[in-house]
């Protein structure tokens, strides 16, 4: 399936759905090591994205148009730090996706743009128990897959798998950035909510590419979003 502007819109809508399903999980994670608002904020943000997409009079022309819409909407409606963080990620990703359809390297460029945006805005590096711990391995996996000649969707799948693994790996880490860092050592033992939502977003990109609307789910349904998802198909 082509990773085109229609995919980009399905990705945004699927993300809204996946985040909504995972909302209570994210809230619980954030309550353990943050202020408990990540699930709520992100759900509000992506629901606002869907509202904006629904209100568009004309279909967006480019993938970058969709990413930019997501960016500005999240920045205005999320409220917490994930607004500017994800907003910047989508903005940077939009800058590198001028193509009508992403090839494998286009997927890599999109992911790299997003990672750069988050890392720059949050001044975070891998290992600090942040979103970067999902995006950084995702980029690495995407680069590897593209180098092996994988298809664009396969590159996306590799990235989403690595992001999910990266999010899980934040469990034992001690946070040194963001709200969780206020807890110091006590932040260990819980996965980072931002890394977890990042993995959900990337899994949604795969779902949008492999399970278009009205089609039955494919075999590679994700770990992250399979929890509590009755009715999602």
């Amino acid at each position: 399936m082509a990773l085109d502007v229609a995919w980009a819109q399905r990705w945004a809508r699927q993300t809204a759905e996946s985040i909504s399903e995972a909302k209570s999980t994210l809230i619980d994670l954030d309550r353990e090591i943050g202020d408990g608002d990540h699930g709520e904020n992100l759900d509000r943000g992506f629901q606002a994205v869907v509202t904006k997409l629904d209100a568009l009079e004309a279909s967006p022309e480019h993938i970058s148009d969709v990413l930019r819409l997501v960016a500005t909407t999240l920045m205005s409606s999320v409220g917490g730090a994930s607004g500017p963080l994800y907003g910047t990620a989508y903005l940077r990703a939009a800058k590198v996706t001028g193509l009508a359809e992403l090839d494998a390297h286009g997927v890599v460029a999109l992911l790299e743009g997003a990672l750069e945006g988050i890392a720059a805005r949050g001044r975070a590096v891998p290992g600090e128990k942040t979103m970067v711990d999902a995006w950084s391995p995702a980029v690495d996996a995407a680069v590897g897959a593209a180098g092996r000649g994988a298809s664009p969707v396969e590159v996306l799948v590799a990235a989403a798998d690595a992001a999910a693994e990266g999010a899980r790996s934040t469990g034992p880490l001690v946070a040194t950035k963001g709200r969780a860092s206020y807890l110091g050592e006590r932040s260990a033992g819980h996965e980072d909510p931002g890394a977890t939502s990042s993995a959900i977003i990337l899994r949604a990109a795969v779902l949008a590419a492999t399970a278009p609307e009205h089609d039955p789910p494919t075999g590679d349904r994700p770990d992250v979003s399979t929890a509590d998802e009755e009715g999602a198909s």
Partner: protein, 254 residues
């Protein structure tokens, strides 16, 4: 008349931003201070559109703009907005790495004197150390360069410089609290002289407030520079006039 540098306050809370605006505006009435706080539904948080609108309003009315933000994600939001301004407009805006309340007060008072953005930014960023430790060398709220407290009798003054000292007794019961401290600091900044009150830089509202001088106390005012005498006259008159808020000292104290 609006000061050339305006201030935008990015806060999670509309009430917090409004309170800081009130506080700073009392000390620096001619400075535009724009709150950009809370979410559209009145909740806690920051929103890109609100912050952008605040910065754009300040850019429309002022030559330059200083932005202060309260907590982590407000800083990220302010940075995102600055990124989106484009080079031309972003060149007229700076984000202060400063405590929200003290930084805003210090910046506003400095801006009130007509200072440029670099000076107002320095003022905000120096404010954090003021209450923790007495500033050394540099004015604690970045009061204009060269206006630091004069040496107490040592050192030499340049040709044409005057030097003098007076004593005055605070007549208003509350003494050098925020408003009179700001009045004094602003007035002092208008003279070509370095003025110290009990050793504190009189051009620095934060240093004056930190003195904690209340009504009935006598202070020593030292000044040096070409307009030292005029500055001393003004400071003594302001103190003895009770900053316009004094019931006569004799009636209230001792």
């Amino acid at each position: 008349m609006t000061a050339p540098v305006g201030i935008v306050l990015v806060s999670h809370s509309q009430a917090l931003a409004a309170g800081v605006v009130d506080l700073a505006a009392q000390m620096a009435p001619d400075v535009l201070i724009v709150p950009a706080a809370g979410t559209d539904d009145g909740g806690l948080g920051t929103g890109f559109d609100r912050v952008l609108a605040g910065v754009e309003r300040a850019l429309g009315e002022c030559e330059e703009v200083l932005v202060l933000a309260d907590l982590g994600s407000a800083v990220l939001m302010a940075e995102s907005v600055l990124d989106a301004l484009g080079e031309d407009r972003a060149a007229r805006v700076r984000l202060a790495d400063a405590p929200f309340v003290e930084g805003t007060v210090a910046a506003a008072v400095t801006a009130h004197g007509g200072a440029g953005l670099v000076e107002v930014l320095a003022s905000a960023e120096a404010a954090g150390g003021t209450f923790a430790r007495a500033g050394r060398g540099r004015a604690a709220d970045g009061a204009p360069a060269g206006s630091g407290a004069p040496a107490d009798g040592s050192g030499s003054t340049g040709a044409g410089h005057e030097r003098g000292a007076r004593r005055a007794r605070l007549r208003n019961p509350l003494g050098l609290h925020a408003r009179p401290a700001a009045v004094l600091a602003r007035s002092v900044a208008a003279f070509d002289a370095r003025v110290a009150i009990d050793g504190a830089n009189a051009a620095s509202v934060l240093e004056l407030m930190k003195l904690g001088v209340v009504g009935g106390h006598e202070v020593e005012i030292r000044a040096e520079g070409p307009q030292a005498e005029e500055a001393l006259d003004m400071v003594v008159a302001a103190i003895e006039g009770g900053f316009g808020e004094a019931p006569p000292l004799d009636a209230r104290l001792q």
